[in-house]
């Protein structure tokens, strides 16, 4: 089947979700929509199960930290409809004070580690996740290292300091 045009995709989503889902843009022809965490599972379920869309393949879940925005943490989903070769990107923005979002493991088993990684690096808490532990970093780490305020290097380290010329 041919690729679903973005207009048709927007219409299909708008018919179902009215104004709960907003279109952000189409960078490089990849439709990007934003929704709230209340609708995210409904939206993902609709996209996955709709007989015409069939976004059955969860490509990726990740997050981006925008400290200067009102809602700082953006959780990004990439879905792929293998039968029509269409992709879609979904964003949900959360505040740092309340980083809860429902888990997508109810729809895809593969979301498990993607969400664990996102939790590990950004501190996004996926409610209902079966095993939300750190995955790449050590268990007793307290910070979320991919947030922008986390420094790349330990500012207190002395082994790289050049005492004659500075760095």
């Amino acid at each position: 089947m041919a690729r679903i045009p973005n207009e048709q995709l927007i219409k299909a989503i708008a018919d179902k979700f009215d104004n709960q889902v907003t279109v952000i843009g189409e960078p490089y022809e990849l439709l990007t929509v934003e929704t709230g965490r209340e609708q995210i599972i409904d939206l993902l379920t609709f996209l996955k199960t709709d007989p015409e869309l069939k976004f059955i393949f969860l490509t990726d879940i990740t997050a981006v930290h925008y400290p200067e925005l009102e809602k700082q943490i953006g959780v990004i989903y990439h879905l792929h409809s293998l039968t029509t070769n269409t992709r879609i990107r979904i964003k949900v923005f959360l505040t740092e004070a309340d980083v809860h979002i429902p888990t997508a493991t109810v729809l895809w088993d593969g979301a498990n580690w993607m969400e664990r990684e996102t939790y590990d690096l950004f501190g996004v808490i996926f409610d209902g996740h079966p095993d939300l532990r750190r995955i790449l970093n050590v268990d007793d780490m307290t910070a979320f290292p991919m947030r922008k305020e986390f420094p790349l290097e330990d500012p207190n380290r002395v082994d790289k300091k050049d005492f004659y010329f500075g760095r």
């Binding site: 992709r87 990107r89 088993d109 580690w113 750190r134 790449l136 290292p145 790349l152």
Partner: protein, 403 residues
């Protein structure tokens, strides 16, 4: 195998033992750990622990200009670094709307397919080793060396290649590279044929692999598997065919698909992919004859680092060199997702750009990471020896697993 009774923790007869498989076990071929509960030789449950070589590439990438991120991608799947390098270059080119000449595309295709062959050589060879047949591995390894020598001619290094630049290659392929490539195309098919004769109908190998760790297409899709693993389960998803990049649409090749998703069909799929890669390389060589021989990069001076002699002797080159290194060239504020067919599956780059010197956020969709999460659940009820060959055939590369 599936009907064997599995004793649970509450069973009075059970005497479960715990086995730490890894982090540095020779059978894991990488630094990652599985804590297995064993009932005799049968696995009752398992927990995967990863992250032993986590190097925070995504964080480092936020502090580096685009052209300095290429060496980071080398260290993801270090068995097929050129695919990662090319994937990254193409992501940036997509961001900057750079059109590469056809000759660059074909040269890239050659390098990427060589990398795919090198990766599959290791994977299938090691699968043979783990099932008790060392010979095939040694036969095939000789040709991985031949591939590495081609890399050396193209870019000067072997494992972490850092091959190419944004916009093309850093230098043209020399004649020795093509000589070695032709020699490889002549010698390798014989060995691959021999390798297949050794294994494909070998009773011991087939008994050890057929029906082991069989995965249905639904399960594989639910776990977001991609690459040879997903194709072995019967889904014909190949990024090269579905979303062609680097002029893959100009080539004729088949996407091999298995049916049972077990270790044996993964082995067959990888072998067949090597034949298809050889086919693609031969077509690419034929196409190269029709292209101008001195083109090896796109004409984008504001993004392609000029050669050093030019920098010292030419005003414009010096200016561009300075601007590229200092990150003075404006880039669009947008986001882009680009994926290539890595040796293990869909290797994706999600790049959020704010117009600055380095990415605002860069995320790697790493196929090994996503493929590996099924390992512990699918090992339940499996014999330990089967779990080992299952791990080999998943082809988990620790660098890509941990990023």
């Amino acid at each position: 195998m599936q009907n064997h009774p599995v004793y649970t923790d509450n069973d009075p007869q059970s005497e479960l033992s715990t086995l730490n498989l890894g982090p540095t076990h020779p059978a894991t071929h990488g630094v990652f750990q599985n804590v297995l509960q064993l009932d005799g030789e049968r696995i009752v449950s398992g927990v995967s622990t990863i992250g032993y070589i986590h190097r925070a590439f995504e964080k480092i990438a936020e502090h580096r200009p685009f052209y300095q991120i290429t060496p980071l991608t080398d260290r993801l799947n270090y068995c097929s670094s050129p695919i990662n390098n090319m994937g990254w270059h193409m992501t940036v080119e997509k961001l900057l709307n750079i059109q590469t000449p056809k000759r660059v595309d074909y040269l890239r295709v050659i390098v990427m397919e060589l990398a795919r062959i090198a990766d599959h050589i290791v994977c299938n060879g090691v699968l043979g080793v783990d099932t008790g047949a060392f010979t095939g591995f040694l036969y095939m390894m000789e040709h991985r060396e031949a591939i590495y020598e081609i890399y050396e001619e193209v870019c000067g290094s072997r494992l972490t290649t850092n091959i190419g630049r944004i916009g093309g290659f850093e230098r043209n392929f020399n004649s020795r590279a093509f000589d070695k490539l032709r020699a490889f195309l002549k010698n390798f098919p014989k060995t691959l044929k021999e390798f297949e004769t050794l294994f494909n109908r070998n009773r011991i190998f087939v008994d050890r692999t057929r029906g082991v760790a069989a995965v249905s297409a639904e399960t594989a899709l639910s776990y977001s598997w991609s690459g040879p693993l997903l194709r072995a389960a019967g889904v014909d998803y190949d990024v090269r065919a579905m979303n062609p990049y680097s002029s893959y649409e100009d080539f004729e090749f088949e996407v091999p698909v298995g049916d049972t998703g077990d270790v044996y069909s993964r082995f067959l799929v990888r072998n067949e992919e090597m034949w298809q890669s050889l086919r693609i390389i031969e077509q690419a060589l034929a196409k190269l004859d029709k292209e101008p021989g001195d083109v090896f990069h796109a004409d984008v001076p504001e993004f392609y680092l000029p050669p050093k002699e030019e920098v010292y002797n030419n005003m414009e080159a010096l200016i561009y060199h300075f601007k590229i290194v200092m990150g003075e060239i404006p880039t669009p504020t947008t986001e882009v997702y680009h994926s290539v067919e890595g040796a293990n599956g869909e290797l994706g780059f999600y790049l959020v750009n704010d117009g600055g010197r380095s990415p605002y956020r860069l995320h790697f969709r790493r196929p090994s990471f996503i493929n590996y999460q099924m390992y512990a659940p699918m090992s339940r009820g499996m014999l330990l020896s089967d779990a080992i060959i299952n791990m080999s055939s998943l082809n988990i590369i620790a660098g890509e697993l941990d990023a």
